[in-house]
Each structure stands twice: as structure tokens, then as C-alpha cells.
Symmetry: C2
Subunit: 190 residues, 2 copies
């Protein structure tokens, strides 16, 4: 049984582990719970409304972005959906194969590809989104509207902090050192 108890317990144990080193408990708890909540929410939504429509979380998010913003360039969709360009290529191809999304070239800039929903995709979202939103209401059921606003606002500030200062911060941490390659993924040619 994770959640409140085990996390508080874990924090205490972590404090003991670290001895003299100071631990930022509150900040640690925020990060831990953000991640826990994200997994829980995603799992619940995938296993309830999304599975019935054969959609993964990522596929739904992509559809949602295109639905809301209308025809968009892929890089904007990827950015807004929080996935890499490479991932979007695959996802949008799958969605295209299922007849939910259309991919068309930009009229003047030959490098760009535009995504838009087909009628079928539009209908799907009309049908699925209300149910999705209902589950969003379910998972936040223990929070009042006011508490929702407050939590959302706090999370927004976390996102903004990373987006606005993250890059700089990472560079400062490296302090001139080489950026350390990812363990997986395509190897540099050299």
C-alpha cells in the first residue's frame, strides 16, 4: 500500500540513510507524488475509456492536440503532446492507417507536414472526450474545485520552471563537461 504512509516512511528512512546530509523533504515529496499520480492516472484512463477505443495514452493525447488546435505542423503537435518528433512520426502513421488523422504537405514549405483529423477522427473525439473528462473528474474526486485549481497552478509552476530555466540549469550543472551520451539509442558515427 503506497501513498501517504509509505512515502512519509520512505522519507524518514532516507533521512536516516543520509545522516548529516540535508534532504529537501517537501520537494522530494512533490516529485515523488507527481510521478506516482501520473502513472496512476494514465493507467486508469488507459484501462477504462481508452482501451475500449483501441487508443494508447499517447495516441489520445496526439488526437486531442490536433482536435483542439486544428490542422498543425508536426513539430508543434509533438511539443504540445510532450513527445519526441520521432515518436510522433510513428504515432501519426498509425493513426493515419486507422483513418483518424490526415497528413498533408505544407503548401509553400516543402519540409513541413501538417496533421488534421478526418471526419472519423472528429467523431471519435466527440465520443471519447466526454468520457475521458468524466474519468478526469473521477480521479480528482477527492479534491474540491478550489483544490484542483490550486494543485494545477502549483504543477504549472513546476512545468514553467523546467521549461524556462531547465536548459540553463543543465548547462550550469555540466560546467563545460561533455554532455554524456544516452545509454540507449543510435550510436554516434564517429
Amino acid at each position: 500500500m503506497p501513498g501517504q504512509r509509505s512515502i512519509t516512511e520512505a522519507e524518514k528512512l532516507a533521512g536516516a540513510k543520509l545522516g548529516g546530509i540535508p534532504v529537501r523533504h517537501e520537494q522530494m515529496a512533490v516529485v515523488a507524488n507527481i510521478y506516482r499520480a501520473a502513472s496512476a492516472v494514465r493507467q486508469h484512463l488507459e484501462n477504462s475509456v481508452l482501451r475500449g477505443s483501441e487508443l494508447t495514452w499517447t495516441a489520445f493525447v496526439v488526437l486531442w492536440v490536433v482536435w483542439i488546435w486544428g490542422e498543425s505542423e508536426t513539430r508543434h503537435v509533438a511539443e504540445e503532446a510532450g513527445i519526441s518528433k520521432g515518436t510522433l512520426t510513428g504515432v501519426s502513421r498509425t493513426l493515419e492507417a486507422r483513418g483518424l488523422v490526415r497528413r498533408s504537405g505544407h503548401p509553400t514549405d516543402g519540409r513541413l507536414v501538417l496533421l488534421s483529423l478526418t471526419d472519423e477522427g472528429e467523431e471519435l473525439m466527440q465520443r471519447v472526450f466526454p468520457r475521458f473528462n468524466e474519468e478526469e473528474a473521477f480521479v480528482t474526486g477527492q479534491l474540491s474545485d478550489e483544490e484542483c485549481r490550486s494543485v494545477a497552478e502549483g504543477l504549472r509552476r513546476v512545468v514553467l520552471q523546467v521549461e524556462e530555466q531547465g536548459e540553463e540549469r543543465r548547462l550550469a550543472l555540466l560546467d563545460g563537461a561533455e554532455p554524456a551520451p544516452r545509454r540507449s539509442g543510435r550510436r554516434p558515427k564517429a
Copy 2:
């Protein structure tokens, strides 16, 4: 530039899209921002402190759990780390190959496998965790301690809601229908 503005913007657009259908805006904002924050935080930490130690997020979480709780049965570690048992098998094997984790059989129950940190793993955590925690403090830098507590508490309630009521809810939603198989993964034999 996502974040506060674009999400608020998106909500307005979504409202327009849905016309008469009522949307739970506050609840939608919470879910959207939970996921956004989780991605942002994970990405920042992977690209700063974890990459330097050749650790993925999941690998770090697993190490952390074993570090804090001490030698533990794998099923508990998987549960606490928020990953499936199958995933843990792979991750722990990778960590074992790197000499960070030890896998030993349970003294009396031959079915169980216990995970513990090697000296090298212990040293790694001593070295990495303080930096990890510092970045946790960085990403939450726009929140006061009090706000951190409040956000963490709100998220905890979301997690609890899903953990305690999610199963029941999903069953109620299906309402007797067959559970709709996952799109990916090994196919049922029958």
C-alpha cells in the same frame, strides 16, 4: 510555449469544440498538468544528474527503493517503484550486470528473489541522491515549502482515489462487457 497560457487557451478551445457538453475544467487542468509536470521533471532529471551516471529514470527509482528499504523481495520493489514485475526482471538484470545490485534467493522460500545493493551501488546512491534531491528542489523552486506540502497532499489524494476506487470504477464502467484486450503485448492463447 506550453504551460499556463497554452493550457488555459486549450481549455477555452476545448470548451468551444464541445459546444453544449459540459466540461470539468478544473479537473481537466489537474490531469493535464500532472502529466506535463511528470514528463518535464523526468526529462530534466534524466538529462542532468542521471545521464552522468548512466541511469534511466526507472533504474534510479529501483535503486532508490532498494537503497531506502534495504534488501527486499522483488514484488515489493516493483510495487513500490510503480513498474510491473516483468519490467523489474529486466531492469534488475541490467543493474546486476553493472554491479550495482545483488540478487539472492530467499533462505527458506525458494520462490522469492531478494534484491540488495552492492557496495558499489551503495556508493553510487550516496553520490547521486544528493544531486537528485537538489534538482528536485530546483524543479519545485517556484513553490514555497508550504505550497509543496499542499501540492503533494493533493496528488496523494489522487493516487489514493485511483488505488482504492479505480478497480471498482473500471468494472462499473464496463458494466458486464468483456474487458477489451490490450492492443500490444502477448496475445491470449485461446
